[in-house]
Point group: C2
Amino acid sequence: MDNKEKIELFEKTFPFWDKMSEDDKATFIRSSSNVYFKKGTNIHNGDNCTGVILVKTGALRLYLLSDEGKEITLYRLFPGDMCIMSASCVLSTITFDVFVDSEENSECFVVGGCAYEDLANRMPEAKIFALETAVSRFSDVMWVMQQILFMSTDKRLAIFLLDETAKTGSDTVKLTHEQIAKYMGSAREVVSRMLKYFASEGILTSSRSEGIKILDKKKLRQLAL
Amino acid sequence: MDNKEKIELFEKTFPFWDKMSEDDKATFIRSSSNVYFKKGTNIHNGDNCTGVILVKTGALRLYLLSDEGKEITLYRLFPGDMCIMSASCVLSTITFDVFVDSEENSECFVVGGCAYEDLANRMPEAKIFALETAVSRFSDVMWVMQQILFMSTDKRLAIFLLDETAKTGSDTVKLTHEQIAKYMGSAREVVSRMLKYFASEGILTSSRSEGIKILDKKKLRQLAL
């Protein structure tokens, strides 16, 4: 990625780019790099300050991980999104450990945490942008929390399947029961049982080779209400 | 509360107070008021912009409420704390509904949301302070989420009882099983069963009249590890 491409991405992502001094712009360009992550790579594990990650292509998944290995997906980031949770040095008030994986082959652009932190300390707009990004993710996480803790599994599974089909534009969901359970913060057994129930209701078919095929979207939508 | 008292509280709470113009200070003083909340009052229900609440005495509880009436306590605020979640107009990126109750008779000081919002739009320090307060609460909420979703009930109950005794400085917890369940985001039946189990292990005694009396703190601490 040459500097011109970098600058274009920065202009698009950071609303304060035009107000930055030439020196600061040069520092940002110098301390940032293009990184490719293979599908399934762990990018950030909570310990370090990986930096501010801008997603160019692919998808990242942010999740919590328990000592026993249980995962809860908080949200996903797609092209154009910025990951600020991986820059713990920028947001000192974030004290929980979040994990970031590449869910697909992803092309990202990582701005060094120190460079961003240094700018944020001098330029309120940069600090406000980082904080506002975090607070809007706070809302995403609260949604997940309410979904997990308050909703019944059938409703949650229906919503998940509808979201997936809406996102991919296909009526087939090519995920294993295990993967779905992980994303939903549920157990594989629970998901498998619920899918079997949905199949018995004529809502979908589920097979190892073909994945989950939605047959009756109207019924699924009623469950999601 | 006269103006002198107001100014003292503002100075203590807002790190940007000294940098405010005299006009802005006068607006803050004019658009703020002293409010008493009786124990158990619902102060904020997510819909409106109640304003920025400063706790002088007592305690506030912030929680999520499901359609079915299930509650999950997110965190509590004590004297000296500021509640920004009740000022939805200040933080437009907060899109979830949070409920605020006074857990005890509480004396609060409410700054009008519009006054704060107007200042935050002109003074980056005020905006950053509001956002940083929200982000640090984000960490509290993530802790609760991990506690609820990852931990087993015995561990959670042990931690809750230890926290309570540490906070009150007494070995007796004067809360009903129902109240404990609410705070833990659990069911009363689950809490009652676990307390019975703890009693059978000689860790505590539980009675309606005397509350929960911790007998073996060492054992309780081991459960909390």
